[in-house]
């Protein structure tokens, strides 16, 4: 059994790649290599995902019974706040851009690195320092404002460590901006010869659209959070009506970022799914340019819909109408994407390997998440459903069912490229199915709960809602099992997994034409792109592999 050996054979027969070129903790913490920074991000977000997951488990356990049993109200409020802060700001937002984007975006366009490697490293440090401050706020006693930090509760009434958490999120914002600037410049300036805009993989288009939102949106949340921190510490009177401020102003400023932030989280996921569907159907994406431009139009329209979070706040009926209308417009490019992915599968050669399972899971769950969004953007129905479990179920379908599924699909897809190791495919399938089933069991009952009127962020609740809460908690344990299994076999793969070939999926794209793991500078010679993306009708590009590894053998090895 040989492995891909297209890199420089090292002195003792070992190939040199980005993972073993240098050793020691310094070589990692001071690295400027985009791939290593991607790995650093992966470690960071895994930590926050586990942390947020622990908070979520405690919330679900508490809600098993209507009364207060496990934790007190104050603790419960801190749990759901910190679950939201950890998952949104420190897991979802940096996940695909930080990990997968850093790892493969430069390789996909034939570049040796991103445009500003030092800024790239700085972005990781902003993320870690911001995360550290949020973590410190948790250790000191936590925050209880909800991740939305609504005023005047957050500015005047809360007794928790709000300012510290705000500064943490503020600093983390710079990580987003730096990544955005970096990706945008890289895509503009560093494409290999022949890599025209319409030959870019759709993952790159999606990252480009995301970068646009990151650059335009993040400064607004930074200013908002800074004003809130100042209000809290110095009582400057911007948001607190007792000081002459306007509490609803905060909501406008907050959602002006936080709605586009939803697209910072989901659009990169669209990119991943496009790659997966094409590869495992062995077909070019149906309607390439429609998929590419729908990402951009979602990114732009996303800035004009923030008011749909505020239909019940007493904003003018006419303003509400405009926000509702534009929200419905976003449904169109989103639907176009779903239809194009489905059409891509038509007459394809479909193989249901684990990344594809995640991609199909994504389409199913995201469709439900998207369609239930229509109930919330319809003004009349939103009045009833606003601030209930229906909203909770809706955004978990989009964020976890959509984004996390896409991220895990992408992680399974590029894991062999990143680590040079294979994981156990049967275990991956089992955990994929567990996650899909557990997710639905957890969150589908919440749609019903919300329709029946169960408000969100309730520590104790009327008894009639209990049965659905029990169902939801039961589902969450299946979900946790799925995540646990996934973590276990990835760890096993890292230390004991068999070597991965350069192109285990027989996929198209520049990242599959270099060895796994890639060498320090990705390409030995500048690649020249001569064909369209997703040219699955063409024969495989054969690397200088002594013996091409066939997928059948790989599977045997994997077992």
């Amino acid at each position: 059994m040989t492995t891909a050996t297209a890199g420089h054979p090292g002195t003792n027969g070992r190939t040199e790649n980005y993972l073993n070129a240098t050793y020691g903790i310094r070589s990692w913490l001071l690295t400027l290599d985009h791939k290593r920074i991607g790995v650093l991000y992966l470690i960071g977000i895994t930590f926050f995902f586990v942390l947020g997951g622990i908070f979520a488990s405690l919330i679900r356990l508490e809600l098993l019974t209507p009364g207060p049993d496990l934790v007190e109200s104050e603790t419960f409020n801190k749990l759901f706040t910190m679950h939201g802060v950890a998952m949104i700001f420190f897991f979802l937002i940096p996940s695909v851009p930080g990990v997968l984007g850093n790892l493969v975006l430069p390789i996909m366009i034939g570049a040796r690195d991103v445009a500003f490697p030092k800024l790239n490293l700085l972005s990781w440090y902003c993320f870690i320092i911001g995360g550290g401050m949020a973590g410190l706020a948790i250790i000191m006693g936590g925050v209880d404002t909800g991740w939305t930090f609504y005023t005047p509760y957050s500015s005047t009434y809360s007794n928790s460590y709000v300012a510290l958490a705000l500064v943490g999120v503020f600093i983390n914002g710079f990580s987003s901006i730096l990544t955005g600037v970096n990706f945008m410049t890289t895509v503009h300036k560093m494409r290999a010869p022949g890599m025209t805009w319409f030959r870019l993989p759709l993952f790159v288009w999606a990252q480009y659209a995301t970068a646009l939102i990151m650059i335009l949106g993040t400064p607004v949340i930074a200013i908002t959070l800074l004003l809130l921190a100042l209000e809290r510490v110095l009582s400057i009177g911007i948001f607190d009506p007792a000081l002459g401020g306007d509490p609803v102003l905060f909501q406008h400023m907050f959602w002006f970022y936080s709605h586009p932030a939803v697209y910072i989280m989901i659009v990169p996921g669209f990119g991943v799914v496009s790659e997966l569907i094409a590869c495992f159907s062995r077909k070019a994406i149906f309607g390439y340019s429609f998929v590419a431009f729908s990402s951009l139009s979602i990114a732009l329209l996303g800035f004009l819909v923030w008011g749909h979070h505020m239909f019940t706040t007493g904003q003018s009926v006419y303003a509400g109408m405009v926000f509702s209308f534009i929200t419905f417009l976003i449904a169109v490019p989103t639907a176009v994407k779903i239809f194009n992915w489905t059409a891509t599968m038509y007459r394809g050669s479909i193989s249901l390997e684990s990344p594809m399972l995640y991609a199909l899971g994504f389409i199913g769950l995201f469709t439900i998440g998207g369609l239930t969004g229509l109930f919330l953007s319809t003004m009349a129905t939103d009045i009833h459903l606003h601030d209930t479990y229906f909203v909770v179920a809706h955004f978990h379908y989009v964020m976890v069912g959509g984004m996390v599924m896409a991220f895990l699909g992408g992680l399974h897809f590029w894991w062999p490229k990143m680590t040079g190791k294979l994981y156990s495919e049967p275990l991956a399938k089992i955990s994929g199915i567990l996650i899909f089933t557990g997710f639905n069991l957890t969150f589908f009952p919440q749609f019903v709960l919300g329709y029946l009127g169960m408000p969100r962020r309730y520590h104790v609740y009327p008894e009639e809602f209990q049965i659905l809460h029990v169902a939801s908690t039961a589902g969450a344990s299946v979900l946790a099992l799925g995540y646990g299994l996934l973590f276990a076999y990835f760890m096993w793969s890292l230390f004991k997994g068999p070597r991965a070939p350069a192109n285990p999926w027989r996929a198209k794209g520049l990242e599959w034409e270099i060895p796994s793991p890639p060498t320090l500078h990705n390409f030995e010679t500048m690649p020249v792109v001569t064909s369209e993306p997703y040219a699955y009708e063409e024969e495989d590009v054969t690397l200088a592999e002594p013996e091409p590894v066939t997928p059948v053998e790989e599977k045997e090895v994997a077992r």
Binding site: S73, N77, D144, Y150, P152, Y153, T156, Y157, A242, G244, D246, P247, S281, R282, K283, A284, F286, G287, F290, F311, G314, V317, M321, S324, F325, F328, A331, V332, A335, V336, F339, T342, A343, M345, Y346, S349, I350, L360, I363, G364, T367, L371, T372, L374, F375, M379, A380, T381, I383, D387, G453, P455, R456, R457, Y458, Y461, P462, E538, T550, V552
Partner: protein, 287 residues
Amino acid sequence: MVALSLLFCVLIAGAIVFFSIRYRRRSEDERPKPVHGSIPLEIAWSVIPLIMSLGIFFLGAELYFRMYTVPENAIDIYAVGKQWMWKIQHPEGKREINELHVPVGQPVTMTMTSEDVIHAFSIPAFRVKRDVVPGRYTTMWFEATKVGEYHLFCAEYCGTQHSTMIGKVVVMEQNDYQNWLGGGVSGESMVEAGERQFQQLGCHTCHKSQSGGRGPTLVGVFGSPVQLTSGEVVVADESYLRESVLTPRASIVNGYKPIMPTFQGQISEETLLQLISYLKSLGGGEE
């Protein structure tokens, strides 16, 4: 809408499952023919969802407008939210906490504000919900159609005991409601209480019942346009009156001097609501 959503879910899921089976990979070296796209198809699946979503939008917006148009014969009930309770005042003077008694078959307008943070007044059974914001009034209306008891929730997260800021709405027959209203100890209606406050706080020394006082007369002001020194014309609604009491210098009526002292921090939200209902009783509007 549920049917439409189900249709799309089944359609997409069905297509995925069907394609996965029908076009499963039969040999490792299979290379399917590329299909690059189809403009007519793209247009079709852009335009059809667009028409559908616009249809839903119009239905929803139309209903929303109706939800915000208060019927003529609605009765006024006032609510003040504070951490963590609802304080309700009926115009007849009856007060209650965390309970709201309303008559069946009668439109009710709630005028609401908060003493501290943002709350939301939500009655899921009536499909109504409205944020209750400190520093301003928000209103909503509903008409209970069935006698019974229903949940009253605070739907906007408001701090530690948020989930205990709940109560019940008791819908009663007209007669029972009248009896219930009469069973109170106060005996003083909101208007009467407001009038008493108007005297006690000394408002009447400047705001006389005829013009010529140091402040404008307040008879017939509610609901009418008021010319300000800035040249702007505003309608004297609840929020305007509230602002004039708490921060009198924010908008000065044309022809008067900014001499009124502020009552910020001196009167409670409930007293303010009584004052306003007294001012409302002085008439006004476009009759």
